[in-house]
């Protein structure tokens, strides 16, 4: 059967039949990828070169939206807000997730209890978690000020300063560490036990085993978590919308890049400008992913097939 005479393009009739069937089965995806991925990509680029309110026809505007971005102080502020968020939230989040995973990987019998509890906050939608944090942060009945008071920090309204609110949102994000921790844990489980046994026989101590075996073998998972975290950090939106009493406040302290994009699109009806913001974010996202991949060649270890 597999060897019937080859037809057009070197494909057998059976190949052609399977091709038709395969394409038929994936046809919903083909429609979806054209409508919800390819079209938005092309359309964003075109619209970003126009002046467009959403109500009238787009007018050609050249690269004006892009040049405007670089002189718009709000864009600078929002980009810095997102950058500060990413610079702190990503590494701290990875360290916490890694520490939790390493601890769960010890032979603790009741690990499933910890796993459940540590994952629970990841289930809570960001908007609801933001509400909870508003309550936790209340200088009166909130518990966070009480806790910090134990270390001599005076009670204060963290939501009243730009730096304070960013700190709050970075701290809030850490409660989602359970997700990355589970991914690390799965990676740790793939490290073959025999490697540790061999290392012990060779007299390697716990520290040496960690840096020579565990970490190198965990680097592919670390890469995955890092790319994921950076991608999510660049798109931070909801906490900046909800945690402050007015979205983006106070003094634009929580006006993240995505929030500024959203406001330009849906509050100021500047869809062309917002599209340019989106295209730049897209390019930055790809550049970051590429950079992480590129740098990863130096530290990611694709060895040992398990």
């Amino acid at each position: 059967m597999a060897h019937d005479a080859t037809g057009r393009f070197g494909l057998t009739p059976r190949d052609w039949r399977n091709l038709r069937r395969g394409l038929l089965f994936i046809s919903p995806w083909i429609v979806g990828v054209l409508a919800f991925t390819l079209f938005p990509l092309v359309y964003s680029i075109i619209i970003s070169l126009t002046r467009y309110t959403g109500f009238s026809k787009p007018k050609w505007y050249g690269v004006h939206n892009y040049t405007r971005m670089f002189t718009d102080p709000i864009v600078g502020t929002s980009a810095l807000n997102t950058m500060w968020y990413a610079v702190f939230a990503v590494p701290i989040g990875i360290l916490i997730a890694l520490a939790l995973a390493l601890a769960m990987n010890r032979r603790v019998r009741e690990v499933s209890v910890y796993r459940t509890i540590l994952y629970m906050p990841s289930l809570i939608p960001q908007f609801a978690f933001s509400f909870i944090f508003i309550v936790l942060l209340n200088p009166g009945y909130g518990v966070i000020n009480k806790f910090l008071g134990l270390f001599g920090v005076p009670a204060q309204d963290f939501l009243s300063s730009g730096a304070g609110i960013k700190g709050v949102i970075i701290g809030m994000a850490q409660f989602a560490a359970g997700n990355a921790a589970l991914i690390f844990l799965a990676g740790l489980n793939n490290v073959p036990e025999t490697l540790y046994d061999a290392a012990k026989i060779d007299g390697a101590g716990a520290v040496a085993r960690f840096f020579r075996i565990t970490m190198p073998l965990l680097t592919p998972v670390l890469l995955f978590n890092a790319i994921n975290a950076v991608n999510q950090a660049l798109q931070i939106f909801t906490p900046g919308y909800i945690v402050p009493s007015t979205p983006g406040g106070p003094n634009n302290g929580s006006l993240f890049y995505m929030l500024n994009l959203y406001e330009n699109a849906f509050s100021y009806a500047q869809l062309g400008y917002a599209s340019a913001l989106a295209v730049v974010l897209f390019v930055v996202g790809i550049a970051m992913a590429y950079l992480i991949f590129r740098l990863s060649r130096r530290w990611v270890h694709y060895g040992v097939e398990v």
């Binding site: 919800f36 809570i124 508003i134 209340n138």
Partner: protein
């Protein structure tokens, strides 16, 4: 390669102890402290939802309500159209989950159980779409749905789910690739066409993977904030995500945090129940993407 059984029963951190000596106490103490921190937000939401306005007005920190005020829940339900928003959220979540499971199973079948030239190259595009940020699609899709006169309806939130998604297709395809080929082939030899093989043989065998995909779709739909915010203007169509924000913004003087927390409890509890019911599928889904 994992078998279908291992797919469900993930041996995460279940390595039995090799040395016999229990040297996990440092790890245990660290985990207990971490868990206490991680429990605080959920716990604080629960206790605040039961406190009286008078107690909150005293501005003191109390770990248990002085009196348990269960009427907060009935008051919260009356303070905003909770029932309607809840029903809307359930309806959208059910439709999205159904669409995701059905469409991605069909698509994944095409990417795994039928061998056709160019299939694996095409699959790279599926993976690439997983990395497309939503930022770039928001404005074009708003226009697209506007041209279709879908704005201010559930269609923009629900219809895309019926056309596959990168993550779900990927996850299901990985699972379907592990199914024994000879069962499918013998069904084909008996004269079953591909559609029939999919629904009578592959679908029943894929329940664990379908559950994983369905749960993640349900969670994303229930927790979606930006989608309803952009596409729904009519209050009668809104979901709980936006409803809570209404509750906070529209009556800042009248609505006290205990009602906001009571409404939050009623929003989050269905998710937590879902989690406890389907925990093993969650764990599998989270670790699936990273390791293959």
């Amino acid at each position: 390669m994992a078998t279908a059984d291992e797919f469900v029963e993930t041996p995460l951190a279940k390595r039995s102890s090799g040395t016999g000596r229990n040297h996990g106490w440092g790890a245990r103490i660290f985990l207990i402290i971490a868990c206490l921190f991680f429990l605080v937000p959920v716990y604080w939401m629960l206790v605040t939802s039961l406190k009286t306005p008078a107690e909150l007005a005293q501005n003191t920190v109390s770990w248990l309500p002085h009196t348990f005020d269960w009427s907060n829940f009935s008051q919260a339900v009356r303070a905003f159209p909770f029932g309607r928003f809840f029903v809307n959220s359930v309806a959208i979540t059910v439709l999205v989950t159904l669409g995701t499971m059905v469409s991605n199973l069909i698509i994944a079948y095409g990417f795994s159980c039928i061998e056709w030239p160019g299939r694996d190259v095409m699959f790279y595009i599926v993976i690439a779409t997983m990395f497309l940020p939503s930022a770039i699609t928001i404005i074009p899709l708003f226009d697209l749905f506007g041209w279709l006169h879908w704005i201010n309806s559930w269609l923009p939130l629900v219809v895309p789910a019926f056309f596959g998604s990168g993550f779900s297709t990927f996850l299901l395809r990985q699972f379907l690739l592990q199914l024994p080929k000879d069962i499918l082939d013998s069904a084909r030899a008996d004269g079953a066409n591909e559609w029939r093989v999919l629904w009578t043989i592959v679908a029943p065998m894929s329940k664990p993977a379908l559950a994983t995909v369905g749960i993640f779709a349900a969670l994303a739909a229930w927790n979606d904030f930006l989608g309803p915010l952009i596409y729904l203007q009519d209050q009668r169509l809104q979901t709980l995500a936006i409803g809570l924000q209404y509750l906070r913004q529209t009556q800042p003087g009248l609505i006290t945090v205990n009602l906001l927390m009571a409404a939050s409890v009623m929003t989050i509890v269905p998710v937590i129940i879902l989690f406890f019911g389907f925990q093993r599928f969650f764990v599998r889904g989270i670790t699936m993407g990273s390791l293959r």
